[in-house]
Structures are given as structure tokens and as C-alpha cells.
Amino acid sequence: MSQVLELNPGNFATEVLNSELPVLVDFWAPWCGPCRMMSPVLDSLAVELDGKVKITKVNVDDPINQPLAAQYGIQGIPNLKLFKAGQEIADFVGMRQQESLRQDILAKIA
């Protein structure tokens, strides 16, 4: 079972903006091949970074989530945004290897 939390406009503020832990939000869509490739990477990061960073995702293909995609200016996916204390502190666009992504996330939240 994936530990990656599914987000929607109903839980975005609680789970991301008001989160005590830094949060990585993966904006993705089912028709995006590179997003699908990132999925096991994020599942694995969710285990590796448990207690340090919360890993979440937003399906931008779901009409209910499209305002979130618009609000965060998503024009290309996969797009991973890192939030800390309610602020967006970094974004990563496109495919990433797990190791370098993990290092970049840890460096940004340090």
C-alpha cells in the first residue's frame, strides 16, 4: 500500500499549508508516462523520508483538482513542489532519479 497521500482542495490546506513536516506535492496525471515513471520513486521516498518529509500527490486530471493546478501555475508534469511552513520553497519539473531527488529535498529543507 502506497504511503503517498492523495490530495484534493478539501485537504490541501490541512495536509500541506498547515503541515508541521515539510511536504512534497507531486502534480501528476494518469495519461503522463513520465509521471507514471515517478510513481515508484515517490512510493520509495515516502518510506525513506518517513518522519522527515510528507509525500503527497495531486491528480490534475481530476476536474475537482484543476483549481489547485491553476493556483500553482502547473503547465508541465510531473511537477514536484516542496512546501515548508506553508511556503513553496522549491519545484522540480520532469523525471528525476530517486537518489538525486532525495538529496535535493533534504538540502532544501535543511
Partner: protein, 309 residues
């Protein structure tokens, strides 16, 4: 031999690798397919009309069918990327991006191609902020916007058609007088769309904008620079063969970087075969069907080789 996990490792899960797996399963060759995206590049094609029995299918669905076929016959999939390869027949070692090392008697490289980038200094800055390399991935974000497609081949033509259904206006940029490398059938469909505007002899010299892409700078034949406002630019300027692993083994590539193979898809390294878009086979026609064909031929050659050796 002790410690050897596989008779064959297929590196790459596109149509060549998947078809090779289908044949390898039928030949009862103990094998695995390494790749993080079953289907590979074809998953990005929004419309495929020339794959026999499929007059109109998108790349994602076709990839799932071929993958399903391979899985049904018992293929083992390893969702990772091969980063290092070493050894020689019959002892190759393949290191994956996750650090795992696999041992195999033989190898099939079905690694396909890597997309070409524009090569402009500010390219990275606009990635995901108006600049895109995958129309099917990012096209939906440009509803009613003005976009450009750069490239003169089939990928660019199909991207322009796909985007014409979403965007208000599509500018199609290519270097020559005409998009020479695009199939006439695509050009016929494009001619029916009044929101696709051809921009021949177009050289994009710069990307402009602040937080997001706002347009492109074009250099005309006379050297005059002009700007065109765009909300998005989709780059489809071809790809280069991913033959790094073959080079690690000392295998021969041609002057354009493609893996040199014989009629049985064998490379110049004993125990290593190559199939799909990264090879010199199929008369350079790099299509899903030729990738499948090369995968089948390679699996058959490997079967014959393993039986004798």
C-alpha cells in the same frame, strides 16, 4: 553457472524490449525486462494509425496491450534503469539505478533514443513553465492558449494536430521550406485545421519571458530578429540513440551513434544484441513495428546462440 541469475537481460521496455520478451518467454529463456516505463517513448504518441490491427489507437493503450501480452506469457519486469554494464559472455553484470547488480549470460539492449533539447542557455528556466517536450503530457494545460510546435517530423506533426484540438492557435515552426520529414497523411490532416499556422524557415534563437515563457525570438533568413508571443512551446526536434551501455562494453556504433548490428541484431560484442530505435537495422525506419520486428529477430538469434553455447 553459479551466481548467474538470468540467461538474458533485456534492457529497455519499449516495443523492441517487450516483443523480445514475448518471444523469449515462448522460447523458455530465463529473462527479465529492465525499464521504468513499459512502452517507453511510444506512450507519448497520441495517435497511431499504422500498427497492423490498430487503425486508431493512442500510444499509451498500445503500450499497455503489448506489456499485457508480455506479462501474460510470464515476463519478469524490473522497474529501474540500467546505469552500468560490464563483463563478457557468459558473465555480464548490469548495475541498476537503485544500486542492485544483476548477472546474466546475454544482454539485449533495447534502449531507444533520447530526446534532443534546444540547447539554449535559458531552456531549463522555462521547463514546465511554458516549455514542454511532451505534447500529450502537457498539452491539456494550454486550453485556448497560443502555442508553438518546433520540428519538421512526424512527432512535431502529430503534436501540432493534438494541440490544435486544445489550444486556440498553433504555430508550427520548422527549418526548411516544408516539413519534409512528416508523413503526407499527417500533412493532409494538418491542412484541414485552420488554427495551425505554418512557420517555415524558422530558427528559434531565444526564449523570452519572466517567470514563465512569454514568447520566442526568431531569426529570419536575412538575419532579422523578430519576436512572437506564445504561451507554450513544444519541442519535437528528434532524438539521439541511447547507446551509452553498448559503448561501455566497447561495442561499435556508427557515425551518428546508432548501434551497429548484423542481420540477427547481434552487436559487435559477443553475447550482446540490440533492437529498436537505437540500431542501424530496418533501413533506418524507426517505427513501433520495426522495433517489434527487431525485438523478435534478436530473441530468435539469442535463442539459437544460447542453444549452441
Amino acid at each position: 553457472m553459479e551466481g548467474q541469475n538470468y540467461e538474458l537481460l533485456i534492457i529497455g521496455a519499449g516495443p523492441a524490449g517487450l516483443t523480445a520478451s514475448i518471444y523469449a518467454s515462448r522460447y523458455k529463456i530465463k529473462h527479465a525486462v529492465i525499464g521504468s516505463l513499459p512502452g517507453g517513448t511510444m506512450t507519448e504518441a497520441h495517435k497511431i494509425c499504422n500498427f497492423p490491427s490498430e487503425p486508431n489507437i493512442n500510444g499509451w493503450d498500445l503500450a499497455q496491450k503489448i506489456e499485457g501480452n508480455a506479462r501474460q506469457l510470464g515476463a519478469e519486469f524490473i522497474a529501474s534503469e540500467a546505469v552500468e554494464i560490464g563483463g563478457q559472455y557468459p558473465n555480464f553484470s548490469v548495475e541498476l539505478a537503485n544500486g542492485q547488480v544483476l548477472l546474466t549470460k546475454s544482454v539485449l539492449l533495447a534502449t531507444g533514443t533520447k530526446r534532443r533539447h534546444l540547447g539554449l542557455d535559458n531552456e531549463q528556466q522555462y521547463l514546465g513553465k511554458g516549455l514542454a517536450y511532451c505534447a500529450t503530457c502537457d498539452g491539456p494545460f494550454f486550453k485556448d492558449k497560443i502555442v508553438g510546435v518546433l520540428g519538421g517530423g512526424n512527432s512535431a506533426a502529430t503534436a501540432a494536430l493534438y494541440l490544435a484540438d486544445i489550444a486556440r492557435q498553433v504555430y508550427w515552426f520548422y527549418l526548411g521550406d516544408r516539413p519534409e520529414a512528416a508523413e503526407p497523411s499527417w500533412l493532409e490532416e494538418i491542412a484541414k485545421r485552420d488554427n495551425i499556422k505554418h512557420q517555415p524557415k524558422a530558427k528559434i534563437s531565444n526564449l523570452v519571458g519572466e517567470d514563465r515563457l512569454a514568447g520566442v525570438e526568431l531569426v529570419g533568413q536575412d538575419g532579422q530578429v523578430s519576436q512572437l508571443a506564445l504561451d507554450g512551446l513544444f519541442v519535437e526536434i528528434g532524438s539521439d540513440p541511447a547507446t551509452g551501455l553498448l559503448q561501455q562494453l566497447g561495442g561499435q556504433i556508427n557515425e551518428r551513434g546508432y548501434a551497429v548490428v548484423d542481420a540477427g541484431q547481434a552487436t559487435t560484442v559477443a553475447g550482446v544484441w540490440a533492437a529498436g530505435d537505437a540500431t542501424t537495422a530496418s533501413n533506418g525506419l524507426r517505427q513501433i513495428i520495426t522495433a517489434c520486428s527487431e525485438g523478435a529477430i534478436a530473441a530468435d538469434s539469442i535463442f539459437g546462440f544460447l542453444k549452441k553455447n
